[in-house]
């Protein structure tokens, strides 16, 4: 039970952690200054969420691991993020499309976790839902602008959606950990809010004049610790200093 609780919290922590890592790559390279700042703000929110969740996970695990030991010193297969967040950023369209799909998911998740029996988690959810709601609003606006913008932007956005869509299946897979956390009232089984997510997504995609891709049999498995090839490279950067100078204080 404790172990499942720990793993569940890692899942919640790792997706914001890894997406923040990706979004921070945009800093200094955005299409306009205003959006450069917006993406950094989003990354900062996500780092904040990851820190709270990792610290909490460390306490639940009770092996004295702090946020940084958990963030920087796990083996790749111990990271539990959704695969979609570790994919390379692609162009700005892919980035905002992923932000949109992910934050729509996070809003539903946080909404339900606000009543978690894990009171610490409930408090984190109550703080995070405000952030994710803003991320959703910001990214949805961009999906609409770019989807219904020029011919080129429409094509780029449809391509982005087509490429990311297969990774959305993983968002709603549930395993023993999810189910047991849902039963105990600590967590929530993501399959429970698939319909809500779909309704947000299809509304915005429709407004953006884009077409929802068909589902495919592919299901990614990041939350189970099996990642894409991109993850190793991402971790190479993330972990560089902690791995090179073991035990150093920064």
């Amino acid at each position: 039970m404790t172990n499942q609780h720990f793993i569940y919290l890692l899942r919640l922590a790792d997706s914001p952690l890894i997406l923040a890592q990706r979004l921070s790559e945009w800093c200094g390279h955005g299409p306009v200054l205003e959006e450069d700042l917006a993406l950094s703000n989003m990354a900062l929110d996500l780092i904040g969420q990851a820190r709270l969740l990792l610290t909490h996970a460390g306490r639940v695990e009770s092996r004295d691991r702090d946020e940084d030991q958990l963030a920087f010193l796990r083996m790749e297969n111990k990271y539990r993020n959704l695969t979609i967040v570790e994919l390379p950023n692609g162009d700005f369209g892919q980035t905002v499309t992923r932000n949109f799909l992910f934050s729509a998911y996070q809003v539903e998740l946080w909404k339900r976790l606000q009543i978690s029996t894990d009171t610490e988690l409930a408090a984190i959810a109550a703080k995070s839902i405000k952030e994710s709601t803003y991320h959703l609003s910001h990214s949805a606006e961009w999906v609409i602008r770019l989807g219904d913008g020029t011919e080129e932007s429409h094509l780029r956005m449809q391509t982005a959606l087509d490429q990311l869509w297969p990774y959305s299946a993983e968002l709603f897979t549930s395993d023993d950990t999810d189910r047991s956390m849902a039963e105990s009232g600590i967590g929530v089984d993501p399959s429970a809010f698939k319909t809500d997510w779909q309704s947000t997504v299809s509304q915005v995609i429709g407004e953006a004049t884009l077409t929802l891709p068909a589902d495919t049999p592919f299901v990614s498995s990041g939350k189970a610790g099996q990642h894409s090839e991109h993850m190793g490279h991402l971790l190479g950067e993330l972990q560089y200093l902690q791995r090179t100078f073991p035990g150093a204080q920064w």
């Binding site: 205003e34 910001h138 602008r145």
Partner: protein
């Protein structure tokens, strides 16, 4: 292809941003930014100007919609108020006992 830089039709419009620091205060001009539409202007204003809790409310106004007085007419606009000193409380010398009036 490099933007020629002179084609202003490709630029996002300029917006002037006004922020209320906290309830009870006026919105105050704090700067400007470029945005394609009103929603983007508000969101960018939030990201650009309230990163340190500087605000609780934002107005965004298209810069071209602001009517400004001409500095050249400053004299006729503002100087005539100069000699109406009787509008100010300090104009009136009252006995000390009632001077906090």
């Amino acid at each position: 292809m490099m933007n020629t830089g002179n084609d202003r039709s490709k630029e996002w419009p300029l917006w002037e941003i006004f922020i209320r620091a906290r309830n009870g205060l006026d919105h105050k001009h704090c700067g400007s930014l470029h945005a394609p539409d009103a929603k983007a202007a508000l969101q960018s204003a939030r990201d650009v100007f309230t990163r340190r809790q500087e605000g609780v409310s934002i107005w965004a106004v298209r810069a071209e919609n602001i009517c400004a007085s001409d500095p050249d007419s400053k004299a006729e606009m503002f100087d005539p108020a100069e000699d109406k000193i009787y509008r100010h409380p300090t104009f009136y010398k009252l006995p000390k006992e009632v001077d906090n009036m």
